[in-house]
Symmetry: C2
Subunit: 439 residues, 2 copies
């Protein structure tokens, strides 16, 4: 089994540096860079005075203060789970009865260190090396780091403006059935609201159809195939209608894993996320959580609980949505103004990202990426957001632009410079150079 003299485990030997560290190195080497790459949230709107007030209040009572500074439970604060589950239920079905429907039972919820830890633990609980996860094409690149580290195979399912291409999903499932690999398929991972990186929101009909399709292939898989719905950006909606989660679908209680978070919509420095899980995953993930850290820091949970109870959270959301709406408009207006018309993109209605599709390569090794850097602008090359999937060449012509962390003026100048850089490749007189860049 051991191939060499490394003291590392198979995972230790396999785990690559995350894309994010490469981006950070690039950024660190250029201190005056305008970063449209970071998934950071907006600094000026972070709820500093609100958190101060909440914590002051919490710690003014010796009893509440002591409880907050003591260990909590592995699953998380029961009241925070109840509040979170009620809120989710209310968002989904318009009401939250005292006894919540089984899909929203707080007993099925685990509080985690951001939703990232939930994604990690779910993957640990379900996937062995060689197992297959179906992901959106493109998908959240940090999740790809988890799959890489665990030696998983990913299959990318084409993403359209309203969610995955269902025909493609069925075609992939069929192909896996024929190749005998269906039994290695464990789940379909969807980032359903204002997706990172594409900004796409999955319509309800597609959630329903996807879950149905997974169910259809379960017999051949020989085991359940789960739908992991990552709703990290749901609360950052500033346009369009809210869409119910997959938890509202028939059979959801046994097949849908839901991951949510308070990090992005409230404060990333607080890092509290949560998951709702069907059995047997709930039991296993709670055990794994015990082994990871036996519970997310109680002080953070107590602070968030108060933010919810005292209305700070909802109030903050209203302001935050306006803020991101405004920043999104600054970015999209600048794109309209400065990007060549050949660039295709959609106006986001929530989240933190715009995902332009370019007529020239924009990957890590592209001349555009280097030129943009020379002009002082950093973006996330879209290629980082596509899984390794031999079934298609990795797309190279997209970029993820974030209006989350950047200052307004930097968004505008960043887009201006980027637009010029893109235009410089389109304007090249010789078609030969254009072709070369497409390689």
């Amino acid at each position: 089994m051991k191939k060499n003299n490394s003291p590392l485990s198979q995972m230790g030997q396999r785990t690559e540096a995350p894309s994010i560290s490469w981006l950070m190195e690039v950024a660190l080497a250029r201190p005056n860079l305008t970063s449209l790459a970071a998934g950071f949230t907006d600094n000026p709107s972070l709820p500093v005075s609100s958190v101060r007030e909440l914590l002051e209040d919490l710690l003014a009572s010796p009893q509440a203060g002591q409880a907050a500074l003591q260990y909590g439970t592995t699953m998380g604060d029961p009241e925070l789970r109840q509040l979170t589950a009620s809120q989710l239920c209310r968002q989904d079905i318009g009401k939250a009865p005292a006894k919540l429907p089984p899909e929203y039972a707080p007993e099925r919820m685990i509080i985690t260190n951001g939703s990232q830890q939930m994604l990690y633990m779910v993957t640990e609980a379900m996937c062995d090396p060689g197992d297959i996860v179906l992901v959106e094409d493109p998908t959240y690149f940090v999740y790809l780091g988890i799959t890489q580290s665990h030696g998983l195979r990913c299959r990318g399912i084409r993403l359209m403006n309203d969610g995955i291409d269902l025909e493609h999903l069925e075609a992939v499932l069929n192909e896996l059935k024929k190749s005998g690999d269906l039994r290695r398929v464990k789940m379909l991972y969807l980032v359903t609201y204002f997706q990172n990186p594409s900004g796409v929101t999955t319509c309800f009909a597609k959630k329903a159809a996807a879950l149905k399709l997974l169910k259809k292939y379960e017999r051949d898989a020989g085991h359940p195939i789960y739908l992991l719905e990552d709703a990290a950006y749901r609360d950052l909606r500033f346009g369009g209608e809210d869409i119910p989660t997959a938890l509202t679908l028939p059979g959801a209680a046994s097949r849908v894993i839901y991951a949510g978070t308070y990090s992005k919509p409230f404060a990333t420095g607080l890092r509290v996320g949560f998951g709702i899980l069907p059995e047997p995953l709930l039991t296993v993930v709670s055990r794994i959580k015990g082994n990871h850290d036996f519970g997310t820091a109680n002080l953070l949970q107590q602070a968030l609980k108060r933010a919810i109870i005292k209305g700070h959270y909802d109030k903050h959301l209203v302001a935050l949505r306006q803020r991101y709406h405004c920043k999104a408009q600054i970015m999209t207006r600048a794109i309209e103004h400065y990007f060549p018309p050949e660039v295709r993109w959609e106006k986001p209605t929530g989240g933190l990202y715009v995902w332009p599709d370019l007529p020239v390569p924009a990957g890590k090794q592209s001349r555009l990426f280097k030129t943009a850097l020379d002009q002082g602008v950093l973006y996330v090359p879209g290629e980082l957001c596509f899984a390794d999937d031999a079934a298609r060449p990795k797309p190279l012509n997209q970029m993820r632009l974030s209006f989350g962390g950047a200052l307004e003026k930097n968004i505008e100048t960043g887009i201006e410079r980027l637009g010029k850089a893109i235009a410089s490749f389109l304007k090249k007189p010789a078609s030969g150079s254009r072709k070369a860049a497409r390689k």
Copy 2:
């Protein structure tokens, strides 16, 4: 590879419920129980007003406040790492030069969600199923949960009053060499200060000798064998001299992994720990940390940093040590008074635990455990703290008693009842029943 139709991974199928959840169930079913089992820290001494002041101060500045509520870096706050490394160096060698010796380089430190997460990630980075970890006999039972979940084999090394039995360590290494299993040995895990559960502190000579022994067997192992020093309780010393860590040993920079924490000595609700790692583990664990959660909640790190800079941490430690000293005395005086003289135990000089060795079985299934419960007292059966190791029967006659979380009056009444329960088994007239209890 798949043995059945479970959707779970090998790890998911393997991971058992942690002992702690069994204990919690027992406790929950009996609300009026006096628990001498919980590893909770002392509630009344939690630094509530101190944390309130620190956070108020931190969040009074919009700039510092925003930074604290924003994402940090995966490795942790650079200043907190610098402060922690300096403090550790000063504790070990009496001074902390501006440029710290390589063993204490802050670049080698990662901030984690308690030291537990560090133990988890180190294990992930190093150990495949079937690999072997050498542990103290007894050892920290939550670590045994990690090894169980990862399918590792543990070998218990006999623990004496001043650390592991070196002859036993050598004998085990020799035996593993002969059986060809040495190449599966990845590390020796030692809880070196006021060990959980035994209260034992490892003397410096034993750390040195242990590291030397590991080194000696490396050639046959074919790879480095690490010493993982878990110093979680170091700062909770209320008697005796402080002992330098294994980081002071020759070759430590390449073979010693050090895990520390601010949870136990400051506030368990803050849950900030740290590790110092040699390459290639440092790189791998930092990547794994990125996949887990890309960094411990920044607010907690900023709060702790301020606690250190403003002297709250050191001040708190002085008070906390006095407090635990006092609670330890209450427990040991009660033990002296109420426990039969046949019970052997040592006075702790730090930490949270007393580890009585009884002339009767005290395990999960023992009559003593049940009788104690009937009398309203819960303890941790010592058997939970011993690894599964076929080389010896699992010891059944110890109990872990914690004076950390219990109130003073409960410590006293708890020990009194426990003493009576123990005595009731010793007093049994028929020697036959004594014998039966020893089974």
